[in-house]
Amino acid sequence: MPESKKATIIVHSGGMDKVMSALIIGNGFLSINIPVTIFFTFWGLKALTKNGFKKLSLSKMNILGLGKVMIRAKMKKHNVASLEELAKSFKELGGKIIACTMTMELMGIKKEDLDQTLIDEYGTVGKYCIESKDAQITLFI
């Protein structure tokens, strides 16, 4: 059944929990046949660096890393998919990822620093706006 809706998500936050929410929601939309584009910008762009998912802290209760260790242990116990698995399935289901070039300049991040297997395009806010103007759903995380 052809689906005319589309969703865009901006990931501005760099917290592990927030990036995870974005990827779960992205997977959710794709699972009901709604195309999704995620635009990673500012702190969110750190998630796209090589091994970036592993380096993210929790946005709250990180407790110098202890909070993150605890939540990862809980995730493993409850068989919750990791960020890496969620990103992989996001791409496999046809999701699109755009990396913000302005953030790359500001933070001195080069293309070689990023995980190329995840990124479909590089773009500025204009790219996000053009994608979003025809989207029925847009989220800022």
Binding site: M1, N27, G28, S31, N33, N79, L93
Partner: protein, 80 residues
């Protein structure tokens, strides 16, 4: 054993012990690889997915043939 089990083209999706959103994601991934008329049977244990997957299938206009709970496992059979 239901009528759908003896048809050809029954594709099994094993989501046992998988947690949200993977049962939904794997169901969708299997739909993408199948063709119209194929029958897909999803088996899982995550309670919320047993509610969520039929909702998603309805939203996509897929015909649900059967859904049942047996012990801690649930089965959802639908046509692509």
């Amino acid at each position: 054993m239901t009528a759908s089990d003896v048809k050809e083209n029954v594709i099994l999706v094993d989501c046992i012990n998988q947690n949200c959103p993977m049962p939904l994601v794997n169901t969708r991934a299997t739909i993408m690889k199948s063709k119209k008329g194929d029958i897909i049977k999803v088996i899982g244990t995550h309670p919320q997915s047993f509610e969520e997957i039929p909702m998603a299938l309805d939203a996509m206009g897929k015909k649900i043939i059967e859904k049942r709970q047996e012990g801690n496992k649930w089965y959802i059979v639908f046509e692509v």
